[in-house]
Amino acid sequence: MTGQILPGARSDGSAWSVGAVGGAVAPGCGSSGGVRCVGGGVGGIGASPVRPDGALKVRGEFAFSSDLWADDMLWGATLRSPHPSATIRGIDVGAALAVPGVYAVLTADDVPGDRHYGLEVADQPVLAVDEVCYRGEPVAIVAADHPETARRAAERIVVDYGVREPVTDPEVALAGGRLVRHVPIRKGDPAAVAEVVVTGEYRVGMQDQAFLGPESGLAVPAPDGGVELYVATQWLHADQRQVAAALGLPVELVRLSLAGVGGAFGAREDLSMQVHASLLALRTGRPVKMVYGREESFVGHVHRHPAILRYEHGATRDGELVYVRARILLDGGAYTSTTPAVVANAASLGVGPYRVPNVTVDAYGVHTNNPPCGAMRGFGAVQACFGYESQMDRLAEAVGLDPVEVRVRNALAEGGSMPTGQVVEGPAPVARLLELVRDRPAPPPVGDDPRQLPGGVANTTAPEQVVRGVGYAIGIKNVCFSEGFDDHATARVRLELIGGEPTALVHTAAAEVGQGLVTVQAQIARTELGVERVVVATADTSVGSAGSSSASRQTYMTGGAVRAACRAVRAALLARLAGGSGAGADDGGVADDGGAVGDGGVVGDGGTVGDGGGRVAGGGLELAGGVIRDAAGRTLGTLVDLLAAGPVERSVRWRHRPTRPLDPVTGQGDAHVQYAFAAHRATVDVDPELGLVRVVEIATAQDVGRAINPQAVLGQIQGGTAQGLGLALMEELQVVDGVIRNPSFTDYLIPTILDVPPMAVDVLELADPHAPYGLRGVGEPPTISATPAIVAAIRAATGLPLARVPVRPEHLTGTG
């Protein structure tokens, strides 16, 4: 497929970059080669229009879900288990009910529908049923007229626990049969031997998503017996399905709207307060608001799976990989959540973006009585990458090669095959990304500005006390949902005259979680429909599912759906122009993506919608600036005229090409939709005596296929890299005997702006022939390789093995 000119894609493989210093601005539409953005001149694809939420957030005026208010509302509070493992012999809510101002106290017995929920497996109780399996598990809920009243009433609930010894060691859990999923990958010869063998065991601590907006929402009882739920989430329809099941209501009676989301990173994919607030609202007949406190939030969402990774890499003396054997153990905590998919990712991506003829990987996820783990940016690929990239450095050392060279020698490329046997279609510029970060100019040498030295302004470190190190890493991530999942997104697009001006209304259920999706949807509509005015409706469940804002998939999926819906609208308009009414529900432009499937709303009426944004291939017509022209440039009509007959609305459910499950024995199968790659070079200055690290600069190179919004691409790369830095140097939930010992932002450390270095970013735009506009998911890859690159740099500076993240001062002073 290489070389094919794609709709709206920059097929020339153009690249752009942003230096590490200063506030360089990403290119706007068409600033560097490639195809002109028709209709996108003002905020179409490839431009970086101002986001509607940006200024509000900076000024503190954005309404988050915790700001929701209804005049007659009650406040919900949750009683949580103080024990990681216990039976429940009885619950006495009498004293809580007696508190003045309390309206309801509910336990598992009050759950009218399914008492368990879950994204993949419904095994997590809405409220504890006869036992608790982690500390912080919800046991009972209270509604009262004041949040403090609700909390104090919750404290008065008497629970008779039969405390059990918790299982907190994942190895013990595995040996004890608490397996959630085992994914084996078998490729080539399991007994392959090699001239050079390097082994290592690595560990990754439990990272938290550390979003700032705590779990919160407002449930309002509806006159029809249903409930309206306003909530910060990643996937409205998955919430809807689970809430309805728990309430014992048909889904139509559970209506969700997205409230202002204060960060997500995977932590909002599972339910938190959704069912609880709804139960209380239905029970009391009053709106009920719930907002978790910070400590509560740390037990109120899933975390990144801590991992133990054992690797053996065999290679030739020239550093060419012969085999990789790995065992990856992930602690899933008390409930299943997304552990099965995380395990599959860790396994299928477990050797990294390398050509390896012989692969034996066994990845396990287990249940323990630790806090549940699930989705977090990078999703299984993060843990594996720390393992395999640490190994690649060991291999480089063993064969006497430069770390970039050993990686380039083994780099996966287009047409290469994954350990699952899946052939990588479309660009896989692994070697090029590595070379890009390698060839970046080195950051300035150690200077004497204290702000640039380890320890910053804290008088710790003079330039001569510093050792510099440079480290590299590259990662691979799957985009969209895998393993045969029916992954789809729905968009409804309506074009009409408002105040005499053609206006597009885009409606999806896709969650804007801060990534800029609202802006991207509007950009696509502008490009496709040649209009300037686009209104993006609040995401809610009155339109079909968009799938989750996770797996780096939403611009691909909802972007794809919006594009398809816009093209259906355009086709209808052109049919109006022709005065005919044809048939054909297909959106020809996306047919090879596995087909755009109409959900009944699509009535195509003539004319295939073709390649370039705004261009209509069938008749050689072009729609731009509200005017329709033919190939000769003659004006055939205007949008205003065409819309005078009434609005055009189309709704499309859009799918990516299908994937397949992994074979349960061999792990073979075309399980993933798209692969995304990012490489990092980290430069660090270390004060080995005091154990202080200053990350001097991070160079990143990433292939994004097509930068729909270059500014947002940069934001994802910088933010993702910072999150990877956090895991490398400081972020870890300290869980002892099943208890999180640092549930606050004073004790769970995330990087401050002073800890985050300047970033030099190279963006490649190598179109993926299967993806809308050739784009590639952007959000996760930069998180994945930042961590190992930084640790590699510290190793280079200190010579220490550093087999565990995060790396803290005591690991560097050699006195830990």
Binding site: G455, N459, A462, T752, E810
Partner: protein
């Protein structure tokens, strides 16, 4: 947070009288510790008496080169005050290297000295903690004690005192001035912080209703080139793993006088008297500094995860001494570090 009553007072006598009269009341300054602890139910006062309007905000030069700092003065204002920056840069630096700009704009000097330990078990009302509830035990002893003390510990408590400012004040022989129902008192900073011993709940000698009104730092010419060094897990907004406040006077390469105090490694702001006595009369060399550091940490005890602090404490002392004797002050005069 439980319901509390709140009142705002404008004069010292009313403040003292109001709190002294109600055993369930306490002073509220910037609230950056108090409100936090109320919220997590570690502090349980029912009445908060806001003292921010008291006329205790000034930073005054004292004759002879000392400084007097009002108890309600903000950390950020004191850090910027010229007399403090010129005469006692270690105080300015200790303040600027603590907390975050927003916190420093709220937090007061009195509140800083009275802040409570950051021990995670102290802050978790479900955990045993002798400091919070005498006799319940010390969960940190065998728990997560990476941040805990290696000096001055007892079998009852190993928590550090978190204040950076107090470390500098202890080094400088500052005096805490209080006023209470029983009159005025002057308490040397070093005595202000007792060792935990068997009563870690007794954190200071201030009686209920007694108000810290000011801190006085006596003149010390060599402090004009002093500094404060802080080792922490990230570059801002974080407590010390180890810190040192240091001032040295040299004559022909020999230490004639030295002030050294440590933070982050001890149960109280720790005046390093052993190190000081090794240093006085010794040449200002790395060897002397090491010997001083070894002497100071000789009795250090670790409890597991904090084992690294013994060596880190030594290295911090050596580094601080090297820096101060090498004329390598790092917070610029006009700099406003985060």
């Amino acid at each position: 947070m439980r319901p509390v009553s709140y009142s705002r007072v404008a004069d010292v006598a009313t403040a003292i009288g109001t709190v002294a009269a109600d055993p369930d009341s306490t002073f509220l300054a910037g609230g950056t510790t108090e409100v936090d602890l109320q919220r997590i139910h570690v502090a349980r006062s029912k009445r908060l008496v806001d003292i921010n309007d008291l006329p205790l905000r000034q930073v005054e030069e004292l004759p002879g080169g000392g400084v007097r700092i009002g108890a309600v003065a903000r950390m950020s204002d004191v850090a910027q005050a010229l007399p403090v920056r010129r005469r006692f840069p270690m105080v300015s630096e200790a303040l600027l290297l603590g907390a975050s700009p927003q916190l420093r704009n709220m937090a007061s000097i009195g509140g800083n000295l009275m802040q409570r330990t950051r021990c995670g078990y102290f802050r978790d009302v479900a955990a045993p903690c002798n400091k919070r509830e005498p006799g319940t035990g010390c969960a940190a002893m065998t728990g997560v004690n990476r941040g805990h003390a290696v000096l001055g510990t007892s079998e009852y408590c190993i928590a550090t005192h978190p204040s950076d400012l107090a470390v500098a004040l202890v080094a400088l022989d500052a005096v805490v001035l209080t006023q209470g129902p029983a009159g005025h008192r002057q308490i040397p900073a070093d005595d202000f912080y007792p060792m935990p011993g068997e009563t870690p709940d007794r954190e200071h000698p201030v009686a209920h209703g007694e108000l810290v009104v000011a801190v006085e730092i006596p003149p010390l010419p060599m402090a004009s080139t002093s500094n404060y060094l802080k080792v922490r897990d990230r570059e801002s907004y974080e407590f010390a793993l180890a810190s040192a406040a240091v001032a040295v006077s040299l004559d022909a390469g020999v230490v004639t006088d030295v002030r050294l105090a440590l933070g982050g490694v001890a149960t109280k702001p720790w005046r390093a008297r052993r190190a000081e006595s090794v240093l006085v009369g010794a040449p200002a060399t790395v060897e002397s500094f090491r010997a001083a550091a070894d002497a100071e940490l000789a009795d250090a005890v670790s409890h597991g995860m904090n084992a690294y602090k013994i060596e880190l404490g030594r290295r911090t002392i050596v580094r601080a001494l090297r820096t101060v004797t090498g004329d390598a002050r790092m917070v610029s005069d006009d700099g406003n570090p985060p």
